[in-house]
Structure formats: structure tokens, C-alpha cells
């Protein structure tokens, strides 16, 4: 993405939400903006409707657990098919209460992506029509992709830890 496109997107964002931007940088040619968590849905709605940006395609959304700062980030990646811009928005939520409003009002595609983020990290999306586990078994109590939980099945008795170096 060239510098002028980047300027256009950031100025479109700054029209209404100047105070929400914490950090904006180009990582490997990809505009990444870190935002405050409160108005993320209005920001995405603004980027959806704005004629200079038109981000009307949701590429993906996922969670990231940063254990050293005790935060869970939610990453939204949007794509404007009309102008061929891509943008990454990140918000950081505290790990004790990771709550954020749902994106399903703008993009129906966010439905299962948010369920997956809830399943893996425990992020609660307020207003989601059906927030329950999607990939893991229904009665699991932990959120497995957080860094404190192990990968392996703990009831496995036939692998020798000293030899397999776990």
C-alpha cells in the first residue's frame, strides 16, 4: 500500500475518531492501527460507510493472548474490494474481563469467527446471537489457546516426558 493511500485512510479515521487511535504503523506493507477498545464498532461502521475507504469485506478476526502484559488482543482485518486497501485493527482487552461488543451487526461473517475467539480465549462479545463454543466440546471449562494451558492431553500415560522433552 502506498503512502498516499495510508494517509487517506488515517485522515478518514481522524475525521471522527482522532482520540481513539493509539498507534498506527506499516508492518510489512500492511497498515496496522491499534485503537482504544470502547468505540471499535462505530469506527468499523465509519470505515464501512466512508467513500474514501469503503472497507466492506471482513477478512478475518482472531484473538491473541499476551501473557506478559496480561491482555488479550482482538485483531480485525478488513479489506476494501473497491479500492484494494487492507487494514488491520487491534484492540487490547484486560485478561480478567475481556468484553467487547459484537461485529455481527455490520458483518454477518463475524458470527462464527467471534464464537471461535470465545472458544479459544474466552472473549465475551456482547450482543452476539449465539455465543457458545464452536470447535471444542461443549462442556470444556478452560480456554485452551491461552498461554497457560498445555497443548497435550494430560491423561496420556504412554509418552515418557523425559525422553520427549516436554
Amino acid at each position: 500500500m502506498e503512502g498516499t493511500d495510508q494517509e487517506k485512510i488515517i485522515s478518514a479515521l481522524k475525521e471522527k475518531f482522532e482520540g481513539e487511535i493509539l498507534h498506527a504503523e506499516m508492518l510489512y506493507d500492511f497498515l496496522t492501527i491499534t485503537l482504544k477498545k470502547d468505540q471499535i464498532i462505530s469506527i468499523i461502521r465509519h470505515l464501512y460507510d466512508h467513500p474514501d475507504t469503503q472497507f466492506q469485506y471482513l477478512t478475518t478476526l482472531c484473538g491473541i493472548h499476551y501473557p506478559d502484559v496480561n491482555q488479550i488482543a482482538v485483531m480485525y482485518q478488513l479489506h476494501s474490494l473497491q479500492k484494494n486497501y487492507r487494514i488491520r485493527l487491534k484492540i487490547y482487552l484486560p485478561v480478567e474481563s475481556p468484553v467487547t461488543p459484537t461485529l455481527t451487526t455490520i458483518f454477518p461473517a463475524a458470527n462464527w469467527l467471534e464464537r471461535e475467539t470465545f472458544d479459544f480465549f474466552g472473549v465475551i462479545f456482547e450482543g452476539h446471537p449465539n455465543l457458545k463454543r464452536i470447535l471444542n466440546v461443549e462442556d470444556m471449562i478452560i480456554f485452551p489457546l491461552r498461554k497457560e494451558y498445555p497443548l497435550e492431553d494430560q491423561t496420556r500415560e504412554d509418552k515418557n516426558d523425559t525422553m520427549f522433552g516436554r
Binding site: 477478512t59 482485518q77 470447535l135
Partner: protein
């Protein structure tokens, strides 16, 4: 004389009774394991509730434990019908992170391999659509061609299905002469076989009656549900990652993007058929371009990240040190976040990689096209009959490995 009873099956809505049909995880018609509980009014489907996760293998957690070169076998097993595309996508993501620039010949070889596996994926999808409508012959005939593609992959990397093909920075060895001969033979034998399959189904009255207007979706709803790949192109939107954000020298190739109109099963079938012909065009152009490049190049000249050949490791001190550093993970991997997407058999397959400088990724997220567009399935089958629902599911090419990861 007694009064005639007026029997009617149009009950008022409050008195209607629905039946629930469990199209369970194991079912001959669902190609993959996912469950749908269908609320049915006779034969018409009123609502559907899908349940997935029956083959959840925790790829994203597993990837945090493995060094970069060990994640390639994981990516194989996502969309296992076209494993090389997943592998190449992952290699390109890591090469983006490490800022490795590949020589042209390697890029063209990668294109040949990716287009062959795209043909293989579409063969499976289209023949299974044929089988679900009752035309088993196409499946048996075209699978022979898929065996030929397997043989080509076997010559290059040793495996048929889950290929682990290529390495970060190029290929593991130069493509052997037999592989080129087999590719040339395939390019001669495949067009008549595909034409035979086309003649069976493309203008077949029964097939068209069965599949037109079956499971259709409009372009606006498809974009709202973040469709990509042949399913989106069948709805009328010409979004192809190879054209929009070209990678691996795709911008030098001349091919069209086939687009449908209705977004129904017939359009999805036809888009995949046309894409197979386009893939063959691309392979022919790539074979021409490869002949013009020097024939000994098969990897990038980046000794810090690409394993040296074994003869040098045993004889040369530098190569031994590089081999040790790469395998033990002592190389300097930059920190950063990178996203790269490729046009997989089903759509935009994306890899979001966060590296913290260590041997293993900090976080790896796969943007899986099947997972995202399968959400639209209940909406697509509402109001249609059960057999149409089965056909819609098989025409969307839902691969369970990619759905659950």
C-alpha cells in the same frame, strides 16, 4: 348423505408440526464430518442448525510449539485435497517475514505445482457433485487423472496426498526429469478427459434441471458472509487473490476469472470447470517461461534460512554450522506481524503470523475460507428440499479439515 370432509394440508402456522431430522456427523452424503439438525415441514427445510468441531485438531495451538519448517506438515492437512497450495502459502508467509526474495524459476515452479493441485481439488469437487446427482461415471473416469497428478507430486516430493512440498526459500531438490515428462504427458492427456466429463454433464438436461436455482445466494449476501473463491465468483463477484494481490509472479500470466450469475449450484460447478481450463493455460505459460530460465536454480541463495545440500554439510564447515543453526533454531528471525494470503482451492487462504524472534511462532492464525463461508449454509438452504440441501453442501466444497483446523 354425510358431508364431504375437506382435507387440507395448509394448517395455520400455530398448529403446524415440524419434524427434526439429524443429518448427523457420519452420513454418506456429507463429505466430511459436520452435523446439521434440520427443522423440516414435510420435505421443505425451514431452519438448519449446524454443529462443527468433530475433527478439531488444534492446529493453532500446535503451531505455537513447532519451528517454522515443522509447521508445513500441519498446513498440508487443512485443505487436504489441494495440500501443495497450503504449503506454498505458508512458505510465502515465512519468506515475507524473513524478507527472502525468490528467483523467477522457483516462482514459476511453484505456480505449476499450485495450479496442478487446484485442478486436483476441482476434480474432486465436480465429480462429487456429479455423484450426488447420480452420475457416478464422472467420478470414476476423472479420478484416474487425479492419480496422474499424484504421480507427478510423488516424483517431486515423494508423497501423494499430504505433500509437504517445497521448503522455506525454494524447493528441496531440483525437479527431476521424469517429473517434467509426466507433466508434459498430463498436459496432453487431461484436456480430452476433461472434455469427456464436460460432455457428460455440462449441457445435460437432467443435471441442469437438478442444479439450476439450487442453493443460490446473491452477491450482496455472499460478500456480507465474506465468501471467497469459486463460491463468490459463482455469485458474480470477480475477486481472485491471484489478480487482486498477486504473489509469486502471477501478474506475468494471462488468464481470465470465470464468473457466474446466480450463485447456484450450476454456476459453482461451471466456475470450477472453467477454472480447470484456466489452470491449464497458466501451466502451459509457466512451462514456457521455465524453459527460458537457467536450469540449476531451485532455491534462494539465503544460507541462513535454507538448508544446505547434505554433501556440503558433511564436507564444508560453514554448511555444517548453517545446518546446525537452522535446525536448532538459532537463526535471527525478525520480530513482527505478517499476513499473507493465497488463492486456495476454496478461496482466500490467509496466514497471520506473529513472530517474537524465537524459534516458534508466537501466534499463528489461519484464515480458513471454508469456516467462513459455511456460516451461510442455513440461509442458502432455507425453503429448499432435502436433496437440494445435500447438493448445495457438496457444491460448496466444504472440507472438514479446513472447517475445523
Amino acid at each position: 348423505m354425510e358431508a364431504k370432509h375437506e382435507f387440507t394440508d395448509q394448517l395455520p402456522p400455530e398448529e403446524k408440526q415440524y419434524s427434526y431430522l439429524n443429518l448427523g456427523p457420519t452420513h454418506p452424503a456429507t463429505h466430511g464430518i459436520f452435523q446439521n439438525v434440520l427443522k423440516m415441514d414435510g420435505e421443505i427445510i425451514v431452519e438448519a442448525e449446524p454443529t462443527i468441531g468433530y475433527i478439531h485438531r488444534a492446529f493453532e495451538k500446535l503451531a505455537e510449539r513447532r519451528p517454522f519448517y515443522q509447521i508445513t506438515p500441519l498446513t498440508d492437512r487443512m485443505n487436504y485435497c489441494s495440500s501443495p497450495i497450503n504449503n506454498m502459502g505458508w512458505h510465502m508467509t515465512v519468506e515475507k517475514l524473513l524478507n527472502i526474495e525468490l528467483p523467477k524459476r522457483v516462482q514459476y515452479i511453484r505456480i505449476v505445482i499450485m495450479e496442478l493441485s487446484r485442478i486436483a481439488d476441482h476434480i474432486i469437487c465436480n465429480t462429487i457433485i456429479g455423484q450426488d446427482t447420480g452420475a457416478t461415471t464422472g467420478f470414476l473416469y476423472l479420478f484416474q487423472m487425479r492419480e496422474r497428478i499424484y504421480e507427478i507430486f510423488e516424483e517431486i516430493c515423494g508423497a501423494r496426498l499430504t505433500t509437504n512440498i517445497g521448503r522455506i526459500g525454494g524447493m528441496e531438490r531440483n525437479i527431476p526429469k521424469r517429473a517434467w515428462e509426466k507433466i508434459d504427458a498430463f498436459m496432453v492427456d487431461f484436456p480430452p478427459a476433461l472434455q469427456e466429463f464436460t460432455n457428460l454433464l455440462e449441457r445435460n438436461r437432467i443435471f441442469m434441471d437438478r442444479t439450476i436455482n439450487c442453493g443460490s445466494i446473491s452477491a450482496e449476501r455472499a460478500l456480507a458472509y465474506s465468501f471467497s473463491g469459486p463460491n463468490l465468483r459463482a455469485a458474480g463477484v470477480d475477486y481472485d487473490v491471484r489478480v487482486m494481490t498477486p504473489y509469486s509472479s502471477y501478474e506475468e500470466f494471462d488468464f481470465i476469472i470465470p464468473v457466474g450469475t446466480n450463485g447456484d449450484t450450476y454456476d459453482r460447478f461451471m466456475v470450477r470447470q472453467s477454472e480447470m481450463w484456466e489452470s491449464m493455460k497458466i501451466i502451459r505459460q509457466a512451462l514456457e517461461k521455465i524453459k527460458k530460465e537457467p536450469a540449476h536454480i531451485y532455491k534462494a541463495d539465503v544460507p541462513e534460512f535454507v538448508l544446505p545440500p547434505k554433501e556440503e554439510v558433511y564436507n564444508n564447515m560453514e554448511a555444517l554450522i548453517y545446518q546446525f543453526k537452522i535446525v536448532m533454531g538459532e537463526t535471527d528471525v525478525p520480530k513482527g506481524e505478517v499476513y499473507h494470503c493465497v488463492e486456495g482451492g476454496n478461496g482466500e487462504l490467509g496466514f497471520y503470523l506473529i513472530s517474537d524472534g524465537g524459534r516458534t511462532p508466537f501466534r499463528l492464525h489461519f484464515r480458513r475460507p471454508c469456516f467462513i463461508y459455511y456460516q451461510a449454509y442455513p440461509e442458502m438452504i432455507k425453503g429448499s428440499m432435502l436433496s437440494d440441501a445435500i447438493l448445495t453442501m457438496s457444491s460448496m466444497n466444504v472440507i472438514a479439515g479446513e472447517l475445523d483446523a
